[in-house]
């Protein structure tokens, strides 16, 4: 009896602690209004240069490139988007900051200058004018005097000098940035509040891509200390772009609100853009759940690039009744170098004939025609979409059993009893390392087709981290992967012998070729654009000649579904648009707008059951030189 009583008391106590714990949890979940932004620190002043900028420089501006926003655009409305995970911090540097959500914050942080998405010319952002120094490593900028931080403080040249100070600080715990802003940017020279120069450490082509810094609000951060990482986790940093975080609830949603009187709203390239009043990111952790949210109009836009969504899943009442529009927009941007990367340190692929045979044994066309429903395009080589830097004469090796036979015999191999090529003890059996379950259906087709060519593929799916580790340690046979892109092709990391035969470099094919090294060095050292373009095309031909990379697919378009009250300009995107509903990007974003009349009409129609004709818009403005799908 005594015992039961004691047990009861303990249980009761436990229950009470539980309830207390629960209620305190609830308190924590309260909506967190973004903290008011206060100017607390004395303004940072970089030493002002005593001499002004050189006399002989030529100030340039660019207000003449075509605009790509629609003059019909009106302001208003809320765009509701989804993120799969709540960001771990609002900081954009330091631990845990490299989440996909970071771009939403960074996109609202304008730079000095930017690049026009259709012409690739330099266009102004915070700077109105710029000039190149004779040394090919300095650029001079004049700032827009109207530029303001979101707290109303004017943006000055000192804020750019502070960027260097900030990025080089050890308190931000971001070694990569520390290193980059030390090794790549030499200094920022302040001439007066609105004139500055940014100097790179070495002369280089496309200098503007290197030195177009974004300012950092010195008055907000003040002097950094070792509590930076903790202190700024959830602080909303002042920015210069059109939107600012106005409200959030951790784990649930983040709301951005358009600034009332944004200083940039009437600028040539920003006019009629950034139209919605609010952008709300809701956390929806599952992709199929997101589709359900979209169908209930609780999310406005949904990506349907995947064939299954484009063809099957969108065969649903909301689309067939015309409430939701489908858009297929072809862009012309840098394509990821995705394909099969052969490790030449593996004795199997040491022989060029074997590499060629392998490429000819990959029936990529069949995969495109069957599994991918003809929706994907063959990637002809690793560097497509770089304009004049791309060598359009290169054609990927096509599936050809005779050529396989010919190359393998040249290399001295024979077919074994099971039909697989053999040479001595070695069988032509290749482990293909890959990471995504969705790619299995493509690889099984390649495997069956390769078997006809006498090559055995063993599919080895690993967790992305484990696969990447294996590949970077160069322990793979063949890696099925793609690389991210940059504005200009990068060769040194992938194909220079400096990076071959050692772990943790991106030369995962272990390419080690003196001629290639010569070309890459010349490309890297050249400051002449025409020469660089020619060298780039030569390097690509050399990559094709070495045959260590079997290019697979590219998706030269984006397909999205949106509710019909969303309007887009004509054409709906830019050459480089990868998301027609990107709300913030200063280059390609904010082109859409909310149409209240259409919204009311659609809501009424859905209520009383009237329908509209279904709309599938296919835009081929930027589809160049390829067969139509």
């Amino acid at each position: 009896m005594q015992k039961t009583k004691r047990l009861l008391i303990i249980l009761l106590a436990f229950l009470m602690t539980l309830t207390v714990a629960c209620s305190s949890d609830k308190d924590k979940n309260k909506t967190e209004k973004a903290e008011p932004l206060l100017v607390v620190n004395p303004p940072f002043k970089a030493p002002v240069s005593e001499t002004g900028p050189p006399e002989n420089i030529k100030w340039i501006t660019n207000e003449s490139d075509p605009v790509y926003a629609s003059p019909e655009a009106v302001t208003g409305g809320t765009l509701r988007l989804a993120i799969t995970d709540f960001p771990l911090t609002f900081r954009v540097v330091g631990p845990d900051s490299n989440s996909s959500f970071r771009s939403a914050i960074l996109d609202n942080q304008l730079s000095l200058v930017s690049v026009h998405p259709n012409t690739e010319n330099i266009v102004p952002e915070i700077a109105t004018h710029w000039a190149f120094g004779d040394d090919k490593k300095t650029m001079y900028f004049k700032l827009n005097p109207n530029a303001r931080w979101s707290d109303g403080v004017p943006v000055t040249a000192h804020d750019f000098a502070y960027t260097l100070e900030f990025m080089r600080s050890k308190h931000i715990v971001a070694p990569w940035y520390n290193d980059y802003y030390t090794k790549e940017i030499d200094r920022v020279i302040v001439y007066d509040d609105h004139t500055l120069a940014v100097m790179a450490t070495k002369a280089q082509p496309d200098l503007h891509l290197r030195v177009a810094l974004a300012p950092t609000p010195a008055h907000f951060y003040g002097t950094l200390n070792d509590r930076f990482v903790q202190d700024y986790n959830w602080k909303v940093t002042p920015n210069t772009g059109p939107y600012q975080i106005s409200d959030f609830q951790k784990g649930k949603y983040i709301e951005f609100t358009r600034k009332n009187d944004w200083w940039g709203k009437d600028l040539h390239y920003f006019k009629n853009r950034f139209n919605v009043d609010h952008v709300v990111y809701t956390v929806i952790r599952d992709y199929s759940m997101l589709w359900e949210y979209f169908k209930k109009a609780r999310v406005d836009v949904f990506g349907i690039t995947i064939p299954d969504y484009w063809y099957n899943k969108t065969d649903t009442p909301i689309v067939n009744n015309g409430y939701v529009h489908k858009i297929w927009f072809f862009n012309d941007t840098q394509r990821s170098a995705s394909g099969i990367w052969l490790n030449q340190d593996n004795s199997l692929f040491a022989d060029k004939n074997v590499r060629y045979a392998f490429a000819h044994a990959m029936n990529i066309e069949k995969v495109i025609k069957t599994v991918l429903r003809g929706d994907y395009f063959r990637l002809e080589q690793g560097f497509v979409g770089y304009g004049a830097y791309t060598n359009n004469d290169i054609k990927a090796r096509r599936y050809d059993l005779e050529k396989v036979e010919q190359y393998m015999k040249q290399a001295g191999w024979e077919r074994g009893a099971d039909g697989i090529w053999e040479k001595g003890e070695t069988r032509f059996s290749v482990n293909v390392t890959y990471t995504h379950e969705e790619h299995t259906s493509r690889l099984v087709v390649l495997k069956e087709e390769a078997k006809k060519a006498g090559i055995e593929l063993n599919l080895r799916r690993l967790d992305p981290a484990a696969a990447f580790k294996q590949i970077l340690e160069k322990k793979h046979d063949a890696a099925w992967m793609g690389w991210s892109t940059s504005l200009r092709p990068q060769y040194w990391e992938h194909f220079h012998s400096v990076n071959a035969h050692k772990p943790q470099t991106n030369n995962i094919t272990n390419t080690d070729d003196p001629e290639m090294d010569r070309l890459i060095d010349a490309y890297r050292n050249s400051l002449d654009e025409k020469e660089r373009e020619a060298l780039s095309r030569q390097i690509q031909a050399k990559v094709h000649d070495i045959g260590c990379f079997v290019p697979t697919f590219m998706v030269p378009y984006v397909r999205q579904a949106c509710w019909r009250w969303w309007r887009l300009p004509e054409p709906p995107g830019t050459r480089h648009s990868e998301d027609l509903f990107n709300p913030f990007s200063s280059i390609t974003g904010g082109l859409f707008w909310f149409d209240q009349a259409l919204y009311d009409q659609t809501q009424a129609a859905m209520e009383n059951g009237t329908t509209f004709p279904p709309v599938t818009e296919i835009d081929k403005t930027y589809l160049t030189g390829r067969d139509n799908p």
Partner: protein
């Protein structure tokens, strides 16, 4: 040695008299036997080819290149096409194809249609194709074979370890028992699923790696019953008699105690087979099982789940699982009833 004692004979007789269980056993054995001969029933290789006076039996062994039959390619003969061609030629040559002329790996894409395609008797996809255009029936049967033999192997190894260690614990008792008990308690608290997820993210698990992992974590639960019954058994006269005759511990455990307690273990075996099949299927379902493109029920289930409109995938695999697991459960119940000690033993 272990011989069939009259008692065991009685149990077997009793088992046979439980018709549902006995019937299930026969059916299950037949299914396993059929799956062993799957190459003759479900394969893209012909059973017999009669070509220009010669007979070919391509089912087992090396590939026969297309050139053998005067085709213009050197890779493995496409027997389905060969059969069609020889039929139209009517030159006395013929091909005997298996009832399902597809292997579980090949993709059968149709012009203008995209997989999965529904069941079709004319194309001999009796259960349709999966999302990669592979025959569902072929993948079911080959997947069954792998799952069942995986589970048999798992059963044998875990029981061998579990029974031996359990008996030792029960027989020696004392500190050894205490120590191993604690060891097992700690060991069984290791989350098996997480371990498998971690391991399979680092290496691609093969049949044997998976088997080893499952054994390493599966033996512990088999020890408890053996330990208990051995405790009971070792006090009985025949053990004392054996010991007084000078029999070694090993001999007593393996030749006296285990044969007398095996019936208790046997009743658990059918359920363990079911457990093994479920374990492998769920791992494959989660994507941590055998590497693609190994035919597997879990993978089919996963496909079916994400393509519910392709009802034939999910239906096939769910029906197959229900049938198998029901059969095994019926067998298990019958075995338990037949081996029920109350029917046979009289306590002293």
């Amino acid at each position: 040695m272990i011989s069939i004692s009259p008692l065991t004979q009685k149990k077997v007789k009793r088992f046979k008299s439980i018709r549902r269980g006995y019937g299930s056993l026969i059916l299950f054995c037949a299914l396993v036997a059929l799956s062993l001969a799957a190459e003759l029933l479900i394969s893209n290789r012909a059973i017999i080819v009669h070509y220009q006076g010669d007979f070919y039996f391509p089912t087992y062994g090396n590939i026969i290149p297309g050139t053998t039959f005067d085709l213009d390619y050197a890779y493995e003969t496409n027997y389905r096409e060969l059969a069609r061609r020889l039929e139209t030629e009517a030159s006395g040559n013929w091909v005997l194809m298996p009832p399902v002329p597809y292997n579980p790996y090949e993709n059968d894409f149709m012009e203008g249609k995209y997989p999965p395609s529904p069941p079709s008797f004319s194309r001999k996809h009796y259960l349709g194709t999966d999302t990669s255009g592979r025959d569902v029936l072929a993948r079911l049967v080959y997947g069954f074979r792998i799952a069942v033999f995986f589970s048999f192997a798992l059963l044998i190894v875990t029981y061998t370890i579990g029974v031996a260690l359990g008996s030792a614990m029960g027989y020696w008792g004392g500190k050894f028992d205490l120590f191993v008990q604690r060891l097992i308690e700690i060991w069984s608290n290791m989350p098996l699923l997480y371990v498998i997820i971690i391991i399979s993210s680092v290496v691609v698990p093969s049949f044997f790696i998976l088997l080893i992992i499952m054994v390493v974590f599966g033996w512990a639960s088999r020890t408890w019953i053996m330990r208990t019954v051995t405790y009971k058994e070792k006090e009985r006269e025949y053990v004392l008699a054996a010991r007084s005759l000078g029999a070694s511990d090993t001999r007593i455990i393996f030749f006296h105690i285990i044969p007398n307690t095996i019936s208790i273990i046997v009743t658990f075996a059918p359920f363990s087979v079911a457990e093994g099949v479920i374990a492998l299927t769920s791992l494959d379902y989660l994507g941590f099982g055998l590497p693609s493109p190994t035919p597997s029920w879990g993978e089919l289930l996963h496909q079916g789940w994400s393509n519910l409109s392709a009802w034939w995938i999910v239906c096939s695999v769910v029906v197959a699982m229900i049938v198998t697991l029901t059969l095994v459960t019926f067998i298990g119940e019958a075995v338990r009833e037949a081996f029920d000690p109350r029917m046979h033993t009289v306590y002293e």
